[in-house]
């Protein structure tokens, strides 16, 4: 159980999918006051109205500089915020930045009360990045598959080869030239288009 289920947590993330994943994680951990802010305009006014204890923000949004305005108490800011980590906690700050996220807490809130939130955030951000990388890789593999098939078709047609021989020829060329099969396939397609 979290130390503080009632802490008001705001998530500022331009990726709705990641925000949803994080929101779900925090709720599963027992936090009940989680608010996702999608709009990038009037962010400070929204934050002011919500008056959160913790703000979690992704590093890909320029809105981070808006949040940093809250370091100073002003008419717009009731309670100043600070970076989550203090000087001594450089490993946490490093892990957070590396995962692509930062968190701010209202001044005076004890570090221990917020630690589980940040840990959860970092792990969810990492999981999301991994997911995205895998998706990217699958997409690339699919694209490469298509390229290889097209190049094979060209070879079969131009050199009157059967499928297995065309494929073997490409693979042998790739090995000889120390290149990837997909690159050789791309060269064949480019050359064929130029010679059209």
């Amino acid at each position: 159980m979290p130390v503080d289920p009632g802490l008001k947590i705001v998530i500022v993330d331009e990726s709705p999918l990641r925000a949803a994943i994080l929101d779900e994680g925090l709720r599963e951990a027992g936090y009940v006051n989680v608010i996702c802010l999608k709009e990038r305009h009037n962010l400070l006014a929204r934050l002011h109205a919500i008056d959160p204890d913790v703000i979690v923000i992704d590093l890909e949004t320029p809105s981070r500089d808006v949040v940093e305005q809250m370091f100073q108490v002003s008419r717009e800011v009731k309670r100043p915020v600070a970076m989550f980590v203090d000087q001594s906690d450089s490993s946490t700050i490093e892990a957070a930045i590396d995962a692509g996220v930062s968190a701010y807490i209202v001044d005076g809130l004890k570090k221990e009360r917020v630690k589980p939130i940040l840990d959860m955030t970092i792990s969810r951000f990492r999981a999301f990045a991994k997911l995205r990388a895998e998706l990217e890789q699958t997409k690339t593999q699919l694209e490469e598959r298509k390229t290889i098939d097209r190049a094979k078709g060209i070879l079969m047609r131009l050199k009157d080869l059967d499928e297995a021989t065309a494929y073997a020829l490409m693979r042998r060329t790739a090995m000889n030239e120390k290149k990837r099969l997909a690159d050789i396939a791309q060269s064949i397609i480019t050359a064929a288009e130029m010679l059209k």
Binding site: R40, H41, N42, L44, L59, E60, T61, P62, S63, R64, D65, V66, V67, E68, Q69, F71, Q72, S74, R75, E76, P80, A82, M83, V85, D86, Q87, S90, I93, E94, I97, D98, S102
Partner: protein
């Protein structure tokens, strides 16, 4: 080859860094620069802090605020090279500009513009209209201080009579169009982008407020400066050569094309060129407001960090209520600027004490003639901040 990771924000004044990496100046010093495009000043500071960046394009006041630990974790930084002077402008919505014109003040001058703005703010208050909102790019920035200086010169209290907020440059056009803000102060090319989009009008060039305002510096972590002094010296030499190249008219075409590339600014080349030559369009029909010093990359010793600029920045922080005055902090702020490292890198003899006069060239309002902490105190006293 020593590889360095350098962060930048897509702005015209990243020119020297980009040219340094892309036109062989780094290589000539045995350095290989990987440029990392960042989306926020906060990211730049944090990535420098944890060592993911070796150096970065930074707002000069941000480098000082980070070193003083204002508002957040203290990140001791060193500014041994100034990337530019000036380059910002104040843009307002066309309706506000029209209202300012209707006051009968002379908008061709900075003082007239300040008085006109003051008059409009008072008219709106008397009529019970919503207060005007202005944005800058970061709390600790020359842009924030320029806006506040303009307001005060117009008899406006920037904390009570208007709202000052932060809006990232890439969002300013949309915010101005939707009426969430009525004006902003940002660096190039964003003022021109708003003019081009037909949503804003440049009311004043930054140089109409301050003739020589500190703007961006190369920020490096103090840990890096101490551990690898030789690498820093090589970087300063490479940057100095890149800054000289960037400002030479014969290289402008090449530089403009380079900056316009999507991986750097991703902004139309002609807009960047007008910025670099100090003649940005200020309003519909291509009316220009020109100043050859609108953005200075190299000439007139612009790249040598001037510790009096650090003093001025600290004074503006106190003036804006961002920090209470402390004699120790004055020294600390000044120590962020390291002309000694710059001189050593470029083989220059140590220079005599700084020149007399106002280091930022205040055009109107209270002049800054400070060379030491006593004069900072006197300046703040004249402004009623001490």
């Amino acid at each position: 080859m020593r590889r360095l990771a350098i962060g930048f924000i897509p702005l015209t004044d990243a020119a020297t860094l980009i040219a340094c990496a892309e036109r062989g100046f780094a290589t000539a010093e045995g350095l290989e620069i990987d440029l990392h495009r960042e989306v926020s000043w906060a990211n730049i500071r944090d990535r420098l802090n944890v060592g993911l960046l070796d150096g970065a394009h930074m707002l000069a006041p941000q480098a000082i605020a980070s070193s003083l630990g204002l508002g957040h974790v203290r990140v001791p930084l060193v500014a041994a090279f100034a990337l530019n002077l000036n380059g910002g402008a104040i843009t307002v919505a066309p309706e506000l500009h029209a209202a300012m014109g209707a006051t009968g003040e002379d908008l061709a001058t900075g003082e007239g513009t300040a008085r006109a703005l003051g008059a409009v703010v008072r008219q709106r208050a008397a009529a019970g209209q919503e207060q005007l909102t202005f944005s800058s790019v970061y709390p600790f920035s020359t842009h924030t201080y320029a806006l506040r200086h303009l307001m005060e010169a117009g008899g406006i209290d920037p904390d009570r009579d208007v709202r000052l907020v932060v809006v990232p440059p890439s969002y300013t056009v949309e915010n101005l169009r939707s009426g969430l803000i009525h004006g902003f102060c940002v660096g190039s090319p964003w003022n021109s982008v708003a003019v081009e989009a037909g949503v804003g009008r440049i009311a004043l060039l930054g140089t109409e407020l301050f003739a020589r305002a500190p703007e961006k510096v190369l920020g490096v972590h103090a840990r890096f400066a101490n551990a690898e002094p030789d690498v820093l010296r090589r970087l300063i030499r490479a940057l100095e050569a890149a800054a000289r190249w960037s400002e030479a008219p014969e290289n402008r075409g090449d530089l403009v094309r380079l900056l316009a590339e999507p991986r750097f600014l991703g902004v139309r080349a002609d807009i960047i060129e007008r910025t670099l030559t100090g003649r940005p369009d200020v309003g519909p029909g291509g009316t220009a407001r020109t100043d050859p010093d609108f953005l200075v990359l190299h000439r007139g010793g612009a790249t040598r960090p001037d510790p009096r600029h650090a003093l001025w920045i600290y004074a503006q922080m106190v003036r804006a209520g961002q920090v209470g005055y402390a004699a120790d902090a004055v020294q600390e702020a000044q120590a962020v600027y390291r002309p000694d490292l710059y001189d050593a890198a470029l083989g220059l003899a140590a220079r005599p004490a700084a020149a007399e006069g106002d280091p930022v060239g205040t055009r109107f309002g209270e002049a800054f003639d400070a060379g030491d902490s006593d004069s900072v105190v006197a300046y703040l006293a004249r402004l009623g901040r001490r």
